[in-house]
């Protein structure tokens, strides 16, 4: 609740400034546990904002879109876009700036020390009947869930999003203003990736065949990814057509492999692709494998430092050059 209060105070001040065009934040959703992104333009709207473990979205996705809330990029003109970010989300801004996707001076970054967000699928499975607005808070190792008139506590580990269990730091990087809260730091040894790597080629092939065959190519993963922002996606091209429109395992594999490779050294592991997948495809397994390789081969972690260059335009003299012909 305190984060919400601080956030509203900041928003009121920020939205009153002449150089700010709008603010992208979270507000109460339409039912149950749902929270939705919102775009505010007036200080009087600040009290719509909320922040809780239900704020799962990575709002930086909107920064690269042509239309942001009621405003188009033309309406925004020279004004800055203020955006609320969690630790993982803030890394997206670092990557976007490093590759000139956005200009840092065009955004105003409001960081929040997030104690962790829920895994919505798990939460809604456990509390399936939430229709009236439900609330979730997280203190220490316990979620407090108020839903349909009753309050329940659940251990953090049971409902928290998997990405939060390996979050190296929940302190957002490169922010203009911060809503502070408890700081945490966990180690990430890529145990999940190692498990998959440990399987035989046939097993891995079977694993992906099973999962990717289910893909219906709704492109929710691509569109929800803040780092998939090409003005024309290679998948949509017809001349030449790189990926066929038929929806089957080979084409689905091509789609997901192409997307994963394009995110190598860029993915900040916000987990949005996997969260939104209507077919429950473990997409983060692909991104995590690439993150591990990038870490091991180049000692690089995307977006961890706002001053860092993009991986593929950086070169260090001590690089062993093993990957170059």
């Amino acid at each position: 609740m305190d984060a919400t209060k601080s956030l509203r105070a900041i928003a009121r001040e920020v939205l009153g400034r002449d150089d700010i065009a709008c603010l992208i934040g979270y507000e109460q959703g339409s039912y149950g546990f749902r929270v939705q992104p919102c775009v505010l333009t007036d200080p009087d709207q600040a009290d719509r904002l909320i922040f809780s473990p239900l704020c799962v979205h990575n709002l930086t996705n909107y920064l690269t879109l042509e239309q942001i809330g009621p405003l188009s990029k033309t309406d925004i003109g020279t004004g800055k876009i203020a955006v609320v970010v969690k630790g993982c989300d803030s890394r997206t801004i670092a990557v976007l700036c490093a590759e000139n996707g956005i200009k840092r001076e065009d955004v105003y970054v409001i960081g929040v020390h997030s104690p962790g967000v829920v895994d919505l699928k798990k939460l809604e499975k456990r509390f399936p009947n939430a229709v009236a607005p439900a609330e979730v808070s997280l203190e220490g190792d316990t979620f407090t869930i108020t839903c349909e008139g009753s309050t329940t506590t659940v251990p953090r580990s049971e409902l928290v999003n998997a990405k939060c269990l390996r979050c190296k730091t929940n302190v957002p990087v490169g922010c203009d203003v911060m809503v502070e809260g408890p700081v945490h730091s966990m180690s990430d040894e890529f145990a999940d990736v190692a498990e998959l790597e440990g399987r035989s080629l046939a097993e891995r092939s079977g694993f992906w065949h099973e999962h990717l065959s289910r893909c219906i190519r709704c492109y929710a993963c691509r569109n929800t990814c803040p780092l998939c922002y090409c003005s024309e996606c290679i998948l949509d091209k017809l001349r030449p057509q790189f990926v066929r429109r038929s929806v089957d395992y080979p084409e689905n594999f091509l789609f997901h492999a192409a997307r994963a490779f394009h995110l190598a050294g860029r993915c900040v592991e916000c987990g949005e692709c996997e969260r939104v997948c209507p077919q429950d495809i473990p997409l983060m397994a692909l991104n995590r494998k690439l993150a591990k390789d990038v870490k091991e081969l180049f000692d690089f972690e995307a977006g961890i430092d706002p001053a860092q260059k993009a991986l593929f335009v950086s070169f260090r003299p001590e690089d062993p050059d093993e990957g170059i012909l």
Binding site: S30, R34, V131, E210, C218, R245, S246, V276, D280
Partner: protein, 341 residues
């Protein structure tokens, strides 16, 4: 309507007794329940409580080969698509069955679509009444109910130890011909149990939307500036349309080489920018909010005006799955309020 009783433990025998047909049912296993062909009824684990698996693909597959072609000496050989085999869909929910009622005139009225029609004619729908509607269901608002028989040939309702079997159509009666010995007549007490089960399910539905005159309100609301805000959260993916049982837009593509290939029909979605882009490069539905408005208009205004009913069955999948909580109930309610209706 004829009513019968089927002992629950005889369900698999019942399905086997339907004879040499292709059986499609919600099968558990793997990471997600899917409606798929059941090769071995004994081995299959049916998941009748799953509310996410879509059934649209049964009549309107995501990939449909319209014909295959290959060049031969002196011309082209064209291979037509085979006529679909006789099929029984078991375990479909009432809202999904109603979706075919909305699709029928579309695929058969102005233009006879042989692919859809032949499949529809070859398929018997055996429904399973919803016992546990979800927190996103709103079928009563669109004229449905968790126990609706509309579009179904047979409906099974769980009444404890047995299924209450409603034989809705002649087709259903015919399909159940071989299973007659497994059915027993329903008694007055069974009837009462069935009514109680229906009432219990209906009471669990708590979301609703007022659609009165919506087909007239929406055209008036077309130019409202608020659409920009209503549609601004949308990220432009196809999750709502691809999971919608009534969305039916498609694209036609040729795949292969000039010498050998196939003409294919695949799902398409009005939420993709490419859907309306012209050869000139101009896109009349430039913004995401314009595309979202079109989706609302299509379902709740164009469809009622052209065909007399709305094109939504209240399954709520678009609401549940939307990555950013674009909620058609919220959108339509806001539009109504803005128009003071």
């Amino acid at each position: 309507m004829e009513t019968q009783l089927l002992k629950k433990e005889r369900l698999k025998d019942f399905l086997k007794a339907l004879g040499g047909v292709r059986l499609i049912a919600p099968v558990a296993g793997g990471a997600k329940t899917q409606f798929c062909e059941v090769a071995d009824i004994d081995a299959a684990e049916f998941d009748l409580d799953d509310y996410t698996a879509t059934t649209k693909k049964v009549m309107f597959p995501q990939n449909e080969t319209m014909f295959a072609f290959r060049s031969i000496d002196g011309g082209v050989a064209v291979e037509e698509t085979a006529v679909p085999a006789k099929t029984v869909v078991f375990g479909i929910r009432p809202c999904d069955a109603r979706s075919f009622v909305t699709l029928d005139p579309l695929f058969t009225k102005d233009f006879d679509d042989p692919y859809y029609r032949q499949r529809r004619e070859a398929t018997v729908l055996i429904g399973h009444a919803c016992q546990e509607p979800t927190n996103r269901c709103f079928c009563p608002s669109v004229g449905g109910s968790p126990s609706s028989t509309e579009g179904l040939d047979v409906l099974l309702t769980d009444i404890g130890e047995s299924y209450f079997v409603q034989i809705v159509t002649e087709r259903g009666k015919e399909a159940l011909g071989g299973a007659g010995s497994l059915l027993s007549p329903a008694t007055e007490a069974d009837q009462q149990q069935k009514q109680a089960a229906d009432a219990q399910s209906a009471a669990k539905i708590r979301r609703s939307v007022n659609l009165k005159k919506m087909h007239e309100i929406l055209p008036k609301a077309f130019a409202l500036p608020e659409w920009k805000e209503l549609g601004s959260k949308c990220i432009g993916c196809g999750i709502c349309t691809y999971n919608c049982p009534t969305c039916h837009c498609f694209d036609i593509q040729d795949e292969g080489t000039p010498y050998q290939g196939r003409r294919l029909r695949v799902w398409d979605a009005c939420m993709f920018p490419e859907f309306t882009v012209h050869a000139s490069g101009e896109n009349p539905r430039h913004d995401r909010s314009e595309r979202l408005r079109n989706r609302m208009m299509h379902k709740f205004s164009y469809f009622p005006r052209n065909l007399g009913f709305i094109s939504c069955v209240g399954c709520g999948r678009c609401i549940e799955l939307c990555p950013v909580n674009e909620d058609l109930i919220q959108i339509l309610t806001t539009v109504r309020d803005l128009c003071n209706e």
